[in-house]
């Protein structure tokens, strides 16, 4: 459903994303792994349109979205949950959720549905988002993205700063979403172990280039690769 072909992102003389190609079928989770500075966040920001690519293509649902504005890419059903969660702290939980579905109009998910999926959010619906813990903010940003009923989700380091138990909850939820809603999920993570535990496929980036691209269990079993790039 989501296909990236030889994508290049350049910041001045630096190639942050260097001819990266990947494919994410519907209903699957593809993990993008690697150390800090490997280009993972730049990759997502280029796919979602925040950054203009210097080369290559992004194809979503057989349609090229490569140089479209961010707002138009979102309207095609591709939703990016940014690094740091991107919760708007000046707004309440309910307002953040409502905002996520506005572009969709009547077809947006009802807020109740999100409260069913994430009961903690219902408890805190009227509170400013600044009061949420890290794990709750992660739930909020995912729920907010789901309000627009996307068909693909780009998740940037959802486990960042979260306790291991919360990470496991979030990862479990992501897997369930891919399975039950048929979402195509591109999951960028530094926590390679937890990402691979729910992914179908894994890519390893180093200095902007893909150095490994294979199914998740094979990747997790490759000790040499794990030690060299993934830290375990």
């Amino acid at each position: 459903m989501l296909r990236v072909e030889r994508l290049v992102t350049q910041y001045g003389p630096v190639r942050a994303v260097d001819e990266v190609s990947l494919e994410v079928p519907a209903g699957s989770v593809v993990a993008v792994l690697g150390a800090n500075g490997a280009g993972k966040t730049s990759l997502l920001r280029t796919i979602s349109g925040l950054v203009r690519p210097a080369g290559g293509r992004v194809v979503f649902d057989e349609q090229e979205i490569t140089r479209l504005p961010v707002e138009d890419i979102v309207r095609r059903g591709l939703s990016h949950v940014p690094e740091g969660r991107g919760v708007i702290v000046e707004l309440t939980v309910a307002e953040n959720l409502r905002l996520g579905g506005l572009w969709r109009g009547r077809e947006a998910a009802p807020v109740e549905e999100m409260y069913e999926l994430f009961p903690r959010l219902r408890e805190r619906r009227g509170q400013p988002a600044s009061r949420l813990s890290g794990g709750e903010r992660q739930m909020l940003s995912i729920a907010r993205a789901l309000m627009g009923r996307p068909r693909a989700l780009l998740l940037d380091e959802p486990s960042l700063g979260l306790a291991p138990r919360v990470v496991a909850q979030i990862m479990g939820m992501v897997r369930r979403l891919a399975d039950t809603l048929g979402l195509a999920v591109l999951l960028v993570e530094q926590n390679a172990r937890s990402a691979l535990s729910i992914a179908d496929r894994g890519l390893v980036l180093n200095l902007g280039r893909v150095v490994a691209d294979r199914d998740a269990s094979t990747l997790a079993a490759d000790e040499h690769l794990r030690h060299a790039y993934l830290g375990f």
Binding site: L50, E71, V74, R75, G86, L91, L99, L102
Partner: protein, 292 residues
């Protein structure tokens, strides 16, 4: 005692005008993080336009409405054409652009309408209400001024808090990148913010013109007061702008009344200094503690 009442009522009326200017400045600051130094000149132009329309049609109401519409249009055009190109650039660029616009508008107004101040009609009678045996320093026109400004402030509050559009405008102001990722057309929200702000400024122009007269430089003092009111209330807070305006209006009215009107501009600047030294975020600034 009646003197105190007079100064209080007068302060509320002038304060309402400052509040309108402050609202304009705050709306633009919140939406695009730009201080619109051309605000006074923009409202001067729309007030001149209103004056021309009133003269042509003989109707104050039509002139009033035209001033607001002209403000909406003016604000939208300025944002789209002049401010959009410098939105992502260092803040100094936007400062220079708005100062340049101010100079340009001043010159254009002088060329078209000349520099001699002219009269501008008031909506209602300027004579004060008679209570008992005395005439108050507050009349039907002042009631109109306060009612309109408070009404506009309430409408804006309803827009921002209660509508989907208002939510998108707030999101675009607080976090434009995340708003874009949620499908909000952030550029349009900025344009709309400027349009509404300019309309608020136009409102202030029409309301204050009867007392300050209409001329290219005649609105500079209320821009300064509006700016002080905005800082006093907190640049990020529309309700703060209104409260700041009223508080400043009262303060200056008391100073003028008891000490002499020459001291009023000085008092405004002293208040500005005090706010910046003691509580720079303004009266309504939220203490931003870091929440985890």
């Amino acid at each position: 005692m009646t003197k105190f009442l007079d100064f209080t009522l007068n302060g509320i009326s002038t304060g309402a005008v400052y509040a309108a200017v402050a609202l304009a400045l705050v709306l633009i600051w919140r939406a695009t993080r730009v201080v619109n130094f051309a605000q006074g000149a923009m409202l001067m132009i729309t007030t001149f336009i209103a004056s021309a329309v009133i003269t042509k049609t003989g109707s104050y109401a039509v002139g009033f409405v035209v001033a607001l519409l002209a403000g909406l249009l003016f604000g939208a055009v300025v944002e789209r054409v002049l401010i959009r190109p410098v939105e992502g650039a260092p803040p100094l660029n936007a400062v220079i652009v708005t100062l340049g616009l101010y100079t340009l508008l001043l010159a254009v107004a002088g060329m078209i309408w000349g520099t001699t101040p002219r009269a501008f009609p008031a909506a209602f009678s300027l004579r004060g209400y008679r209570v008992g045996g005395t005439t108050l320093l507050f009349g039907p026109n002042d009631t109109f001024i306060v009612a309109v400004v408070v009404g506009v402030a309430i409408l804006l509050a309803l827009l921002f808090r209660g509508t989907a559009l208002g939510l998108q405008m707030r999101a675009a102001a607080f976090n434009p990148e995340v708003a874009r990722l949620l499908g909000t057309r952030v550029g349009r929200m900025f344009t709309l913010g400027w349009a509404l702000a300019a309309a608020a400024g136009s409102l202030a122009g029409v309301l204050v013109a009867p007392s300050v007269f209409l001329g290219p430089n005649n609105f500079d003092p209320i821009l300064i007061s509006g700016f002080v009111a905005a800082v006093l209330g907190g640049l990020d807070s529309p309700p703060g702008a209104v409260v700041g305006g009223i508080v400043l209006g009262l303060a200056l009215s008391y100073v003028s009344g008891y000490e002499g009107s020459a001291l009023a501009p000085l008092a405004a600047l002293v208040i500005l200094l005090l706010v910046l030294m003691v509580r720079p975020g303004g009266l309504f600034s939220a203490a931003k503690g870091r929440e985890v």
